[in-house]
């Protein structure tokens, strides 16, 4: 019985990893005031690039770097449209999703059905992994899992405990006041959007080189949208994102587990969104400010205009 529990929880951790990576990236991006609905597309691009590079070079770490670079470059489209051109961020983000999905489908076509010979192997941390129950659960995991946790903590530290973090958050709250304090609002926003892209691409790389070791078109399977919901669920806090991601990861696992009992997986697939709506209702009813949403999220900033 204990084995079953550990196995379910282990799979929960695995399923939560890409969600956490994506959410941390989206939190950073949205904290600077830019809404990026392109996560699904960027994730997909990260997945295909990581797969192709691993397939051809046999080096999943090189593949990870390539995926991150690809994610950053493709996010530039959204950054340029929403920051420089001040376009509607919803439209631009959705376009990014479409471009990313289409592009990855095209690039990945020749690789469909070809499994990887090497993948990102799980890594057991010495000593710690020997602890009963906790060891196999938390310390015998894919490197992506460790990276996700560390990056989430680092992002929290960055946003809450550094001057640069204050600048990022101020940019999302009140770009005009921030600019009068000598901060380059445009630069901050570019960096945050691109960083968000890097995180999403990492999540994609996890899917194709660690979670499974194959490429299938549409393998991101809506995780990008869950990330958007999770960002709200976590109240734009990378620390809370850790909790939320593994909670939603658990829902993913339950989809398979509860199917034999007669609970529709479609119903379970809705749960993350329902949970997010409940959070929005609950917080919204109490006090909007407690929601913690960046005040200028989604609003283009025009310099020198009153």
């Amino acid at each position: 019985m204990e084995d079953v529990v550990i196995s379910v929880l282990h799979r929960t951790m695995v399923a939560g990893t890409p969600l956490l990576l994506g959410t941390v990236g989206e939190v950073i991006c949205e904290r600077s005031g830019i809404l990026n609905l392109g996560v699904e597309g960027v994730m997909s691009v990260g997945a295909v690039v990581a797969f192709v590079v691993t397939y051809t070079t046999g080096n999943p770490w090189l593949a990870l770097i390539a995926a991150i670079l690809a994610g950053m470059i493709i996010s530039l489209i959204h950054a340029f449209a929403s920051i420089t051109l001040m376009a509607n961020q919803v439209v631009s983000g959705l376009a990014l999703t479409m471009i990313g999905l289409g592009l990855s489908g095209m690039v990945g076509k020749p690789y469909v059905g070809k499994p990887l010979a090497v993948k990102m192997n799980d890594f057991a941390i010495p000593w710690l992994s020997d602890i009963p129950f906790v060891g196999p659960l938390l310390f015998k995991q894919s490197p992506f899992f460790y990276m996700a946790i560390l990056l989430a903590l680092a992002a929290w530290f960055f946003l809450e405990r550094t001057l640069a973090g204050i600048k990022v958050r101020s940019t999302g709250e009140n770009p005009r006041a921030t600019e009068t304090q000598g901060v380059n609002v445009t630069l901050v926003r570019y960096i945050c959007v691109i960083t968000g892209g890097a995180f999403s691409a990492m999540a994609g790389a996890h899917l194709s080189t660690s979670y499974s070791k194959s490429w299938i078109e549409g393998m991101t399977a809506g995780r990008g949208w869950i990330v958007i919901a999770l960002t709200i669920f976590a109240l734009w806090n990378p620390g809370k994102a850790i909790f939320g991601s593994f909670l939603f990861g658990g829902v993913f696992v339950l989809q398979y587990l509860l199917q034999p009992v007669g609970i529709s997986p479609n119903f379970l697939a809705m749960l993350p969104y329902i949970a997010t709506l409940l959070i929005l209702f609950g917080m919204g009813l109490r006090d909007r400010r407690r929601l913690n949403a960046p005040a200028q999220l989604g609003e283009p900033y025009k310099r020198g205009e009153r």
């Binding site: 405990r161 550094t162 001057l163 640069a164 204050i166 600048k167 958050r169 101020s170 709250e173 009140n174 005009r176 006041a177 921030t178 009068t180 304090q181 000598g182 901060v183 400010r289 913690n292 005040a295």
Partner: protein, 505 residues
């Protein structure tokens, strides 16, 4: 040792789009002095201080610190030179804590653990001037006075020897004003210099050592406040003997068109904005409401026209009670409205000219049938409006935002008065318009009066008020400090004092 012992602005001129905002301005301030910069709205006070703070570049003239010419290209330069500015609208991030706001603008904030590491410094400054600020409170939880003190700490931490305060008392309660003045006196005692932009005579008299008065972009005088009285300062600010017009022929008093009784209205911040105001307006009359912006005029206009709820009291259009009716119903009862901020409230900028010509009237039979608009008639109506009210446009098939301000305003006015409503409420109808458009609009208001209509005119432009109005009410802090007939010239010459709340009739 203070970085600035003496600061001078020499022959500063600045113009925007060919209109000068500042012309040949000279002023100076010494260490340990509080200088008042007095003038009406639009006199160029804020422009001048924005030049000093580096937000604007002067067209000519120079700034000297300790007899040495310096160049200020941006706020960063001015901060380095020891100049700090607290804007009228605070530049604070509402959802962040006090200390995060301070960390953002403080030059010496460390990268890691900024909040903890500047905490002691903030507390030290806060105690030095008795600010009583809790560093970890969120800004939105603070009162306006506390927010202002956060802004002052921000400036002082960056080493500001000269502090510029733009209308510092406009958002404060009387207690907070007292507190602010105590802080300013403490700062003065420590050798800081302060420039206060204001149009409130009482405050200038109380806190300032010297005063420089601006009028229409020029200096109209310098004075030691100790040697001046309020009356002479008011004259300096208004800058002219009050002149009276001319082509406003006397008309017999008509019927009652608007009766406002004991009106109370709450402003945006939840504080009372209009306090127990009552007045009547009759046909053949233009009733003017003068006063400095922010004394409840906006809320009064909005309450009468149905945009803002009336808390208590009543508004009658003729014999019909229109209190708290919807704006459209109020319009249907014969009260039309030329709102302030015409682009924001008067039109839908992205819609076509002809769409804008029937706003609030689209539901009338002549413009629509069931759910369909009758564009044929609408366009015909629009063309006749354009002709009658001299709107210059090459076509009516353009988005209205492409028109100039004057032409937009003429269309709005035409839309509102073409049906000859008994009452027109006009808020700052000529604000920001060129001379030609202004003159035309004023003529139209006088024409309404002649034709048996009534106009309730809100304006900060005293020339306009004197030229047009039969009766003039002066509004100060939500109350009338007097309602005067245009024949009471003796009293009207004290309108500056009434606007400052210093006397009441």
């Amino acid at each position: 040792m203070k970085k600035i012992q003496k600061l001078e602005m020499v022959n500063i001129s600045k113009s925007f789009h060919g209109n000068f905002a500042n012309k040949d301005i000279n002023l100076h301030i010494n260490s340990g002095e509080i200088l008042g910069l007095l003038g009406e709205n639009g006199a160029g006070k804020t422009t001048l201080m924005n030049i000093l703070y580096g937000l604007y570049q002067p067209d000519s003239g120079e700034i000297r610190i300790n007899e040495k010419h310096i160049k200020i290209n941006s706020p960063i330069d001015s901060i380095h030179h020891g100049i700090g500015m607290v804007h009228q609208h605070f530049m604070l991030i509402q959802n962040h804590s006090v200390i995060e706001n301070i960390a953002l603008g403080y030059e010496k904030t460390p990268f890691f653990f900024p909040k903890i590491r500047i905490h002691d410094k903030v507390v030290e400054f806060s105690e030095k001037f008795n600010f009583a600020i809790e560093p970890y409170k969120k800004v939105w939880q603070l009162s306006a006075g506390e927010q202002q003190r956060v802004e002052i700490i921000k400036a002082l931490l960056n080493g500001a020897d000269l502090l510029i305060l733009d209308e510092p008392t406009s958002v404060l309660t009387p207690q907070e004003i007292k507190e602010l003045f105590r802080i300013l006196k403490d700062m003065k005692a420590q050798g800081h210099m302060v420039i206060i932009i204001s149009h409130k005579l009482d405050e200038i008299m109380e806190i300032c050592d010297r005063v420089t008065v601006l009028q229409k972009g020029r200096i109209s005088g310098h004075a030691d406040t100790a040697l001046m009285d309020k009356r002479s300062l008011a004259r300096m600010m208004i800058g002219r003997e009050v002149l009276f017009n001319v082509n406003r022929e006397p008309l017999p008093k008509g019927e009652l068109v608007l009766k406002v009784s004991n009106l109370h209205v709450v402003g945006n911040k939840g504080v009372p904005a209009v306090k127990d105001i009552s007045f009547d307006i009759y046909a053949n009359e233009i009733f003017g409401i003068a006063g400095v912006a922010g004394n409840g005029q906006k809320e009064l206009a909005e309450a009468i026209t149905g945009i803002r709820p009336v808390k208590s009291g009543s508004v009658f259009a003729g014999s019909k009670n229109i209190t708290n009716m919807s704006p459209r119903k109020i319009y249907d009862h014969g009260v039309s409205h030329v709102p302030e901020e015409r682009i924001k409230f008067g039109i839908a900028p992205g819609l076509f000219l002809y769409d804008n010509a029937i706003l609030k009237q689209h539901h009338l039979d002549k413009f629509s049938k069931n759910i369909f608009l009758e564009y044929g008639r609408i366009k015909k109506h629009t063309r006749s409006l354009i002709d009658s009210y001299r709107v210059a446009t090459h076509s009516i098939d353009v988005q209205i935002k492409n028109l100039s301000g004057g032409n937009i305003q003429k269309l709005i006015l035409g839309r509102e008065i073409s049906e000859n409503p008994p009452l027109l409420v006009a808020s700052h109808p000529t604000y920001g318009l060129d001379v030609g458009a202004t003159e035309y609009l004023r003529e139209q208001l006088l024409k309404r009066r002649r034709e048996g209509g009534a106009v309730l005119l809100f304006s900060e432009d005293l020339d306009e008020i004197f030229e047009l109005c039969d009766r003039i009410a002066v509004m100060f802090q939500g109350e009338f400090t007097g309602v005067l007939d245009s024949s009471e010239r003796e009293k009207l010459s004290d309108i500056g004092l009434m606007m400052a709340g210093a006397i009441r009739y």
